[in-house]
Structure formats: C-alpha cells, structure tokens
Amino acid sequence: MKCTHRRSLGLTSLMASVLILGGAALARAADFQLPALNSPPSSEHHPGKMIWADLVTPDLAAAEKFYGGLFGWTFQRIRAGEVNYAVAMLDGRPIGGIVEKAIPAGQHQQSAWLTFLATNDVEAGKKAAVSHGAKVLRDIKSYPLRGRQCVLSDPEGAVFALLASSSGDTPDYLPATGDWIWTSLHAKDAGAEAAFYQNLLGYDVFDQPSDDGLEHLILSTDNYARASANDLERDSARRHSHWLNFVRVENASDSAAKVVAMGGRVLVPPRADRHGGMLAVVADPAGAPIGLMEWSESDTKAEPK
C-alpha cells in the first residue's frame, strides 16, 4: 500500500516536471521569433535567388560593431535560452542574422556566412539535393514567420541553405548600398556544381568568356543573374569549395581600408570585375569572408549593345 502510494507520488512528480520543463521551453521558444523576410509579405517567388545570410561568430557584440560600422547595419537582438541572435537591419528591413556561438574546443572550424537560396519547396529541394550527392547538415526546420529551411552541403562540400520564405521572396530591386548584391560559388569543378544547382533550382547557365582558363558561369532565373559558379584557382594548395556573398558598397577601396582599420583583413584587394565596377573580398575580425562590390546605377541601365 505504502509502496503503491510512493510510486504514484513519484509518477506525479515526474509528470509535473515534464510539464514545467516543457512549458518553460515552449515559452522561451515562443519568444524566439526569427523575423519575416518581407513585411508586408511579398507575392514574389524567385527560386535560386540569395534571400538571406546568417553569420555564426564567437563574439556577437564585435560582429555588430564591425558590420554596423562598415555597412550601416543596425541590429535587433533576440535571445532565447542560450542563443544570442541579432537580426541585421538595413533601412528598417531585416537582411541577415548573426548567431553567437563559441567555437568548440579542438574543432578546426571557422566563422562564416551561410548563404540562403530561395526555393518554393524545401522538402522537394532537399530530396533533389540528396539524390544528386548533397548531404544534410541540418534537417528541415520551421520558423513560423521566416519559413522552412534546411542546411546542406553540395557534392563538393560547399555549404548552403534552402529557404522557403513564409512571406515571399525579396522583390527584384537593385540592392541598395549596404544590401546583398551578389553571391558566388567557388568550386573545384564549377561546371559539375552548376549542374547540381541547376537540377535543384532550375537555373539557366551561361558560360562566360575568361582569360584565366578557368570556368566562370552565370546562374540566372527569371531572366536575372542570381549567382556565379567559378572554378577555384588550380594552383591553390588549400582549395575549399564555398559560397561567398557580396554587399553593395559605394567604394570598394574605402570599404576595404575601413575593414583593416576595424581589425579585419583583405583577402582579395580591390579590382575591376566584369561589370566594370570594383570588388574586393575581406574577412571580418573573426575571419568570416565577405565580398564588397561597387555597382553604379548606370551599370544596370546600360542598353544592350
């Protein structure tokens, strides 16, 4: 009798604990709302377009200071449990996120921006990616306002995310200064990688003339250039396939100098690119690479030859 009573009490306590812990977790999760990409929602859908980027870094405050100083971004902090997350805003619009996370001791990993490519259907995208050689790094997850997303590595190991935005995709405007303007894939075999992403996102693929003997491809959807796929330099002993995102700047040289003054590094010094404007690649103080690209209004208004 005594034993039954004790067991009953134990079970009741266990059930109460589950309820309290679960309730607390749900309450904290309810506070953690990744923002919608578009408010009001956009009716546009552009599979294959880069629509978001997240930075994982060991020092959120330092990253805010760096990117705020460089691009004029402001930040909206979100805290949930042990996660510190800041939404990067440009002119009141969310354009990216920064997650604070310590680099696990003994792990040789580095801070980087994660590229989010738009898709209409994450499940179908994941399935197609896996069937063409991708690996799932983070399975599909739903965030009510943001949408559904998953993180994958392509057949060469370049990491990217697919996002089916709940509020539509970022409309097709010329990005403002401080906004994402471009994303490029650097791979050992750009052609094979372009085929992979073409199967996944339906890109049109345009071969670009080059003087360096390497393959450079433009990937487009909706008759807009969305990304490029480029062979990595062959003589680099430490080649690693990756995506690289570019922010529009007024002056790439000035921005690169600012990066150095704020504790970052220049990886590719400012140079003229295909459109005639300058671009550069830099690393923030934590080592995360990011591109800087100038784009004058007249660049896109030029009439076809």
Partner: protein, 103 residues
C-alpha cells in the same frame, strides 16, 4: 478489467512527451535540446578564400552581356561537354535587377 494506475500514468506521461516533441518541431525548438536557432560552424579552418588570379571575374555583367564569339556556348571543362544544360545559344547572360526600391 482493471488497469493499474501506475500504467495509466506512464501512458499519459508518454503521450505528453510525444506532444511536447511535436510542439517543439512546430515552434522551432531544436531536437538537440537547444531552444531557438541552432546555427553551427560548418566551414573548416585553414583554407584559402582568396588567391584569385588577375583574370578571375566572379560578378555579374552589365545588362545583356553578349558572349564572346570565340567561345563556344557551354564549352565545359577543358573541352569536355558541360555537365550542365547550357542556356540557348541565342540568349545573353542577364544582369541583376535594375529597378530601384522606392523608399
């Protein structure tokens, strides 16, 4: 048939745990126990992110760049047929959007 109270409570506990797991999936609570966003480090340390040669061009062209006639459409790697389906020969690579966002 009398079901022991302990078994009943255990079943209830199991059902509640399942319910919580489902709720976690919907609200974004990570299955690994983290609450919120589970961003991670995916890039290995110690690799080159630069080292571009002089002719290395990665950006978009201006509006409607035309292909160089001296290059085949979708020539592929080292003369091989490309793994991708090249855009039709008559089409030029497009540029990025040009309309400005009204503020």
């Amino acid at each position: 048939m009398k079901i022991p109270r302990g078994r009943l409570m255990a079943s209830g506990l199991g059902a509640m745990a399942s319910l919580l797991l489902c709720a976690c999936e919907v609200t974004g609570v990570g299955v690994e126990g983290s609450v919120g966003y589970d961003g991670g480090y995916y890039e290995p340390y110690g690799y080159d992110y630069g080292g571009w040669g002089a002719g290395y061009r990665v950006g978009p062209g201006r509006c409607c760049d035309h292909r160089d006639d001296h290059h085949d459409v979708g020539r592929g790697h080292a003369g091989r047929a490309p793994a991708y389906r090249p855009a039709p020969a008559g089409r030029s690579a497009p540029s990025i959007p040009s309309r400005s966002r009204s503020r």
